[in-house]
Amino acid sequence: MNCTMALRMLDAYIDHELDAATSAEMAQHVVACAECSALRSQRVAMQTALRATLVREPAPASLRAAVLRDIREADARRATRAPRPPRSGSSWARAWQMMLLGASTAVAGAIGGWWFAQPQGLDGIPEYVVTRHVASLSPEGPRIDVASSDRHSVKPWFQGRVDFAPVVRDLSAQGFELVGGRLDRIGDRQAAAVVYRLRGHAINVFSWRVKGHDVEPDRSVTLRGFNVETWNEADMDFAAVSDAEGAELKRFVAAYRGS
């Protein structure tokens, strides 16, 4: 390796873009050649300084909001143009939003409200939750994988079965009897179902891990006679469903959330 070649490849060298053999030759040359070594030091110093000094500025909130508004409009137009698109309007927007805005919870929350307002809406998490709840019921009681009223038996059971630790609380003092736990699904996500009972009414609490949120925070809906409460925490979404009265389910959720 001579200096002409070394100079040509110096940047690729410090950027680790050379193949192993060429990189080794470069290293040898730089050790031997004072001039190239000095240039290398300059380059590395510049790169280090640039990376330390240049910081990415966050996009202004107003720009974020404007983008979301644009997408909402574009999504509405899309839905009218193609009555049955391969990916339905809002889930399309959702996928796009995940790609673009990803981890931003605040934005996910804001846009989440909009998904649900869409007629073809995330094919409605509450509707889905009710379906899973009904599927879990049998005349003998709710289907469970681990039957126990001891939260120290139920919670560890989920270890290795889901990639999060579901909330399992002893709520017997408030009148809610822990029945057990079960593996379930919400859409394409793996969910933990924790099952309680209140005077013969089964309560399923589904929890699943999310990037952007799937459900609206603190929302109550009634579907087919079942009450559904949804809420979210840092990177988890929750839905409680039961045929118990709305007020009772609210009381349950408050107790379950430990508030």
Binding site: Q42, R51, T53, P60, A66, I71, R87, W92, L100
Partner: protein, 166 residues
């Protein structure tokens, strides 16, 4: 996730807050429409390529209207003059580049091709391959352009220092 890089790239390319915002908004709509044509697993590179094109479109429109922003030499000159040293040893580079305003002014003085490639490499830490995909040039060109951009930046930093000294 990708909106912040998009916004930063747009600002580096257009050097104008309002134009950058327009370009990002436009790029978002375009990426939304073309989401099903997204190529490869690298969403960020795909999206940034759209953002870059959108910026170039916006700049083209501005030029047609003859409303291109004037390059404010005085402002940049003033910022550039704030550095203070004799030569560019690695230590000097490190010391002067820690002044973010001064450093930004140096980069701002570079032609667009060089600004964007430095931004993609040093701020976004993208690989040559990703940069090639975004800027739409072969990897060899990424290598030589980045090398040239760094040479120029170093020259500008040195010139700014000299100016400060005299």
């Amino acid at each position: 996730m990708h909106l912040d890089p998009a916004y930063n790239l747009a600002r580096w390319i257009t050097q104008n807050e309002a134009v950058a915002r327009d370009a990002v908004q436009e790029a978002c709509i375009q990426s939304f429409r073309g989401f099903d044509q997204m190529q490869g697993p690298n969403a960020r590179a795909w999206f940034l390529a759209i953002v870059r094109n959108s910026c170039l479109d916006q700049l083209r429109k501005l030029r047609q209207r003859g409303a291109e922003d004037e390059y404010d030499d005085e402002l940049h000159g003033a910022a550039l003059a704030s550095g203070d040293s004799r030569s560019m040893s690695p230590e000097d580079i490190a010391a002067s580049a820690s002044d973010a305003r001064w450093l930004r002014a140096c980069i701002d003085g570079l032609p667009r091709e060089y600004r964007e490639i430095i931004m993609l490499r040093e701020l976004e830490e993208m690989s040559y391959k990703e940069i090639g995909a975004i800027v739409d040039v072969p990897i060899g060109t990424v290598m030589s352009r980045l090398s040239r951009a760094r040479d120029l930046l170093q020259q500008r930093m040195l010139a700014a220092r000299k100016r400060a000294r005299s």
